[in-house]
Symmetry: C2
């Protein structure tokens, strides 16, 4: 819909155009949306993404399209509640990991990431150019939602463990705070998955109620102080290997936006998507050095643990696939994308990053 409004000459002349004539006046409906973030304000990168997004939209419309972010708990709790509130039009939109909705349908996971899926850049490629976001929105439409990627953490850490995990056997009986599909996968390896909010992780680890906890990466984890109560910091977080944060919008609210505001919002989401990744890529290296200096001990998951986790992931997928054809279809597409991309990665990003790591080390 084109809504250019050519006004009477008198009104046009009153517009102070700093650059060029003709200046026209554009129809600029006042739109006020409430956004519920799945995250608390203390997570200034995750919650900060919604602030960044709202700022970009407001500035690109001279304040006519305003999105007001609310932190988790202010209107609704975080997690699946923000998706539900958006779906039901309690609020117009939310900024969240779609995978908080896997209790509704495991298919919600693909909007964020799934265990052993493509990394952040590969996921962006699938969503942005490979048709992935259209595939997701076909599914979201059934839940009255429209979504755009608007943030990413990159590869997260595998979590804080109170003792070393050297073998697959060592995982047995470990009470591990881990969310989503990874919990289902790790259950197959004897782990006892725990659901505990971020605010309780420190005390749970300190008291030994749990043995391990994963959150995101060094920058966010540091704020929880986990390095003081569980010093082994494992990597990589194979279940959060390019975690997308989505702008999810009530479908009717999206549909009724003027085309110009849709464009503004799409651009702002893409810009925020990039900003959040950049913010994490900037902060995590600094925070990693601090937590290591404070006593964190970095440990890779062993190849055997990675292999066992990979196989248990496939079993988990087979189980979901058996009863969920939409999940099966999208999983096939996502994993084919990952596989097709991996060869390219092995002659581009990977060898460059490996060489740089070695060259810097030898040059010291």
């Amino acid at each position: 819909m084109k809504r250019r409004q050519f006004l009477a000459a008198g009104a046009t002349a009153a517009v102070a155009a700093p650059i060029a004539s003709p200046a026209i006046a554009q129809s600029a409906p006042s739109v006020r949306w409430r956004l519920v973030s799945a995250f608390p304000k203390s997570l200034d990168t995750l919650y900060g993404g919604s602030v960044e997004l709202a700022r970009r939209v407001s500035e690109a419309t001279d304040g006519q399209f305003q999105i007001q972010p609310f932190a988790a708990g202010e209107i609704v709790p975080g997690g699946a509640a923000v998706i539900d509130a958006t779906s039901k039009n309690t609020v117009e939109c939310c900024h969240t990991c779609s995978y908080y909705g896997i209790g509704i349908d495991p298919t919600f996971a693909f909007g964020t990431c799934v265990p052993f899926g493509p990394n952040a850049r590969q996921t962006n490629a699938w969503l942005t150019v490979g048709g992935g976001n259209d595939v997701l929105n076909e599914f979201y439409a059934k839940h009255n939602l429209y979504a755009l990627p608007a943030g990413n953490t990159g590869v997260q850490m595998g979590g804080w463990f109170r003792k070393e995990i050297n073998t697959v056997e060592d995982l047995k009986g470990i009470k591990f705070r881990v969310g989503g599909l990874a919990g289902n996968v790790l259950l197959k390896l004897g782990v006892v998955p725990q659901q505990i909010g971020g605010g309780d992780l420190y005390s749970s680890l300190e008291r030994g109620t749990i043995d391990a906890a994963e959150w995101t990466g060094p920058y966010d984890d540091e704020k929880l102080g986990l390095y003081r109560v569980a010093k082994y910091y494992y990597y990589p977080g194979w279940w959060d290997q390019g975690t997308v944060i989505s702008m999810m919008i009530n479908r009717a609210k999206w549909d009724e936006l003027p085309a110009r505001y849709k464009a503004v919002l799409s651009n702002a989401c893409a810009a925020t998507n990039q900003w959040m990744q950049a913010k994490y890529d900037h902060e995590n290296p600094i925070a990693l050095k601090r937590v290591v200096a404070a006593g964190a001990i970095l440990r890779p998951f062993s190849p055997a643990i990675m292999e066992a986790s990979f196989k248990a992931t496939q079993q988990t997928y087979d189980e979901i696939n058996a009863s969920n054809p939409t999940f099966k279809k999208i999983l096939g597409e996502v994993m084919a994308y990952r596989d097709a991309t991996s060869l390219w990665w092995q002659v581009s990003e990977l060898p460059y990053d490996i060489n740089i790591a070695n060259l810097i080390r030898r040059a010291r």
Copy 2:
């Protein structure tokens, strides 16, 4: 500058507001810019970035801010000429690798990438959150320019060689089409750098006028047909390891844009920055398989060649630093950023990508 224009009630009522009242009419000066791309239309990802950018700006302003892209050669030739034309206000803006301007000042390289610098995501982090873009714009201001990142190729390939290059000795006397600072570096290793346009690479390789040529990556290289005349395809391209394409704007033109259009343009550049990376990440894996199927033989540069190149790069930097304090200052910042980020990469992206490559291989 806020330019909200509250019109008389009669005019406001005439605006068809599909969503909410009050609708106001915004001052929307008509801005028409000409953009000169450094790239030909056949490079639909590099040139396509300017089209994508222009589309995003237009849609977010209902066509009131229009940027018309011109391919290399249409108004000015590609390369440094587009930067010069923008600096002199022959055109309002260009979409280019800033490093085409290193003949003016080697400092122009940092807006794109420098040999053995940070990778694409790390560069984005430096530019977007780490203050890098402000540092660059301080320098650009001396050339009447303002720039925003608006595209990236990721790690490029190291080029097509007619024979295998196994040792540092094998590089001696090789006539290699390679641009920019990499040419200076490789000269120290006995390479004879050649400057040849993309359109002449095929025939030069076929006739043996040159022994090797680098362009970008599989998707672009395939179009030139280089795999038919030089089958050894080396990696990684350590001089183009996260090549930024910049939107460079004549400073006065940027300064006089209304705040809203600055915001629209900034968002569109960030969105395009992400789009181009996604497009390459989508297309390169597919094209890589095609060129390999057509006979290309993938070869890594040996550790010894990488090490010798790394050392020769440092010598090159030392020489430039000796007479160019701005280059020296920014180089120090960029390389400190790379080093600080490398440890984080080694516990996040790298181990994940390595594991995935191995797990996929073993699962087959």
